[in-house]
């Protein structure tokens, strides 16, 4: 990962500036877009496989939202699952109540989540570190309750949740619903990563990072810290919210139980394990969120049969050990670790 990295005294991690235009990134995107033709037709990738891929991408977008906030602006959040839920419900309610087409709900989910994030960002301005952690933690716990709130039941459908329908591919395209969904998700992700990259490369992006690295210095240099911080909170919520909307469409179902606190933890873990201040880190984080429990589960089952332990190991043990080992080996996340390794190889 050839990122031109500059080191700074950041509370979060060494800053990594996104790389310049690279033809191979677009080649990879093209290959990914052709997967339904290549993999789908040959039977190499099943519909379930495309579901997995879609989810990895969805989580990558969600993780990207948190990375923009934490990695590039220095604000912590333990509750991004809340924005994910708001996005999912916005989409589901519009499809269910107003019979909107699924694609039209995405921009609305984006706007709603931006506003929610922006509004939440205002009190968050006064809160730092642990206090912001508590406030966002509280947000994550409160949102499922909020979705069940009696006076909202007419549109959230309360505890029952909302059933919607997954779109079929249009114009009689020879694709399965999962393959079509995968293409939509991929398209949205490419768009959003592209926007994020350009944002970070712009003046505004540099201001964001200046605030992260030294907010007081940034403000003396004429950066409107409060304005930037709230807007970044909004943008971050927007990203995670769009991921939530896609998630709702993929699963054709939303319910308060789908967005419990564990989701926020998963997004946070994805961001940190992927690499908190790195766009490739978001992709790695998304993949990690999607695959880790399956691997932990499979490994646990293998271990249990291979070694006859006196007790039934549970997958979380492996998961926990994996997290600690990863942080041990790569405290800057996988993206950070790979960058460091690459530099070492080139340096020697």
């Amino acid at each position: 990962m050839a990122t031109t990295a500059t080191t700074a005294n950041s509370p979060v991690t060494a800053a990594a500036r996104p790389a310049g235009h690279k033809w191979w990134i677009w080649l990879m995107v093209l290959l990914l877009a052709l997967l339904p033709l290549l993999g789908g037709k040959t039977g190499l990738i099943s519909n379930y496989g495309f579901l997995q891929l879609s989810l990895m991408i969805v989580y990558a977008i969600a993780v990207l939202g948190l990375i923009l906030l934490t990695g590039f602006n220095g604000q912590i959040s333990l509750g991004h699952g809340a924005f994910f839920a708001v996005g999912a419900y916005t989409s589901a309610v519009l499809i269910d109540q107003a019979s909107w087409p699924y694609w039209a709900t995405l921009p609305v989910a984006a706007i709603v989540c931006f506003l929610v994030g922006y509004i939440f960002g205002m009190p968050a301005l006064r809160l730092e570190g642990h206090y912001l952690a508590l406030a966002t933690f509280a947000l994550a716990v409160a949102v499922p309750q909020f979705l069940k709130y009696r006076h909202f039941e007419w549109f959230t459908n309360g505890v029952q949740g909302i059933n919607i329908f997954k779109p079929d591919p249009p114009f009689g395209l020879p694709l399965s619903a999962d393959q079509w969904m995968y293409l939509i998700v991929l398209f949205v992700a490419v768009l959003m990563f592209w926007i994020a990259r350009n944002l970070l490369d712009s003046r505004a992006g540099r201001a964001m990072m200046a605030i992260r690295d030294h907010s007081m210095a940034a403000s003396t240099m004429g950066v409107n810290v409060a304005h930037y911080k709230t807007v970044v909170f909004g943008i971050s919520a927007l990203y995670t919210g769009v991921a939530g909307a896609l998630h709702a469409i993929i699963f054709e179902f939303v319910a308060p139980d789908s967005f419990r606190f564990e989701l926020s933890i998963a997004i946070l873990v994805g961001a940190v394990v992927g690499g908190i201040a790195s766009l490739p880190g978001a992709v790695i984080g998304g993949i990690f969120v999607q695959v880790i429990d399956k691997y932990a589960d499979a490994l646990t089952k293998k271990l249990t049969t291979a070694v006859s332990l006196p007790l039934d190991l549970e997958p979380w043990t492996i998961y926990g050990i994996a997290l600690i080992l990863l942080m041990y080996v790569m405290p800057m996340g996988i993206a950070g670790g790979l960058t460091a390794l690459w530099r070492k190889l080139r340096g020697s």
Binding site: Y48, F253, A255, D297
Partner: protein
């Protein structure tokens, strides 16, 4: 779908026509995905982790029981391959695991997937895929709707029916009832409440003087219990899962509230509810049962209880026998095996569904005498009858007749 699959499917539907005329045993060998001459693949999801992990014991019991079935030679010579995944009680996770089961592991059908939210999330998918979603581990009333959802069937008495039975019992036995309700604020709680209200009837709904809800994330229900006591209620309908049921019973005793106490069947466990709450405080609690309590001395000589005890001793020696999950899992797994036996060599999904919907007077092990499983193509509620019982000492004392909310003909 490959050509081969389509052919077997066509052959399968031919077999249905045949099966109408012939008894299943004499039909030819017919298979859908997931069944072969040597194996039947069954899929399942259970919350082995997360805040409903106490239910994981059901999945473990079913797994152990199928091991026993295999040790005893399998079903019509076929071994059961039971694949159970953890869904953490999260609907999206359940969808993902179920799609893996159906599309990758290619199971013949799903059995006893647990939880109302998780089953709701996979309901439509299973019916589109035409893969049976059998004997789900939830008592919501929506699982018995064969017209719209041909491939989904419940097992236990539904919550609404049970709620209505309590309501009727209150109306005819408690003088001047004032009812306080503690309810888990989710799908399951609401189902009970709606059935209960229906049982009371429109005019009597005002008898409910207080409704207190709790969230599964609440550390205790103490505040709700104080609220209920102060409402002046003399009847308490307790719609709670085991941990909160135990807390509520204990707290009621502590604050000296002694209403006529009705507890939902979900928490009919000595190991997980009454013992932790205190046997003393639990005396007299009324609840509806459909299975025998293994500790009740009157079943000491009943063969199914003896068989269950032998099974537990051999296959789950570490388990707490007073945890009702083991009792439940054993009974429902037996029902599944009965259906598979009836399928004979015709292991198509259509036939599995057909056999599940053709149980007549089947007395699954552990069911109370007089309670039988009856299903038909229009009746997707296998168990519809319960008997009321009250906690007496360290077991249940049954009283009254076998009751059912609907179909009195059964």
């Amino acid at each position: 779908m490959t050509f081969l699959d389509r052919r077997t499917l066509l052959a399968g539907s031919g077999a249905i026509a045949l099966a109408l005329a012939l008894s299943p045993a004499s039909a030819q060998k017919k298979y859908d995905e997931g069944a072969t001459d040597t194996e039947i693949k069954i899929g399942n999801t259970n919350p082995y982790s997360g805040n409903a992990s106490a239910y994981g014991n059901i999945g473990k019991t079913i797994d152990a029981f199928f091991k026993k079935v295999n040790d005893d030679g399998g079903i019509n010579g076929r071994k059961i391959n039971f694949i159970s995944y953890d869904d953490g009680y999260s609907p999206p996770k359940a969808v993902e695991m179920v799609r893996k089961l159906v599309e990758e592991d290619k199971v013949l059908f799903l059995f006893n997937t647990l939880g109302t939210p998780s089953n709701t999330a996979i309901h439509k998918y299973m019916n589109q895929k035409k893969v049976p979603q059998l004997f789900v581990a939830t008592g919501a009333s929506k699982w018995g709707n064969p017209k719209e959802f041909h491939w989904t069937m419940g097992w236990q008495p539904d919550y609404a029916t049970e709620g209505a039975i309590y309501a009727k019992h209150i109306l005819s036995n408690v003088k001047d009832p004032k009812i306080g309700i503690l309810m888990q604020n989710d799908d399951y709680g609401k189902d009970y409440l709606n059935g209960f209200k229906q049982g009371l009837g429109k005019d009597n709904e005002k008898l409910i003087v207080e409704l207190a809800t709790y969230e599964v994330t609440d550390p205790t229900v103490d505040s709700q219990m104080i609220q209920l006591k102060n409402s002046g209620a003399n009847v308490f309908f307790n719609i709670t899962t085991p941990k909160f049921a135990a807390q509520a019973i204990k707290k009621a005793a502590e604050i000296g509230w002694k209403p006529v106490h009705y507890l939902n069947n979900v928490s009919s466990s000595f190991g997980a509810v009454f013992k932790p709450a205190g046997i003393e405080a639990s005396q007299g609690i009324i609840l509806a049962l459909y299975r025998k309590d293994p500790a009740d001395p009157q079943w000491a000589n009943s063969p199914d209880i003896a068989a269950w005890k032998a099974f537990m001793a051999k296959y789950m020696p570490q388990a707490d026998l007073r945890d009702d999950s083991h009792n439940y899992g054993y009974s429902v797994a037996n029902t599944m095996v009965e259906v598979l036996k009836n399928c004979g060599d015709n292991l198509t999904r259509e036939n599995v569904m057909k056999q599940a919907a053709s149980l007549k007077g089947y007395e699954a092990p552990m069911l109370l005498p007089g309670i039988k499983i009856n299903t038909s193509s229009t009746d997707y509620y296998p168990i519809q009858a319960v008997r009321l019982a009250r906690v007496n000492g360290e077991s249940f004392e049954l009283f009254g007749e076998v009751q059912s909310n609907e179909n009195p003909s059964q």
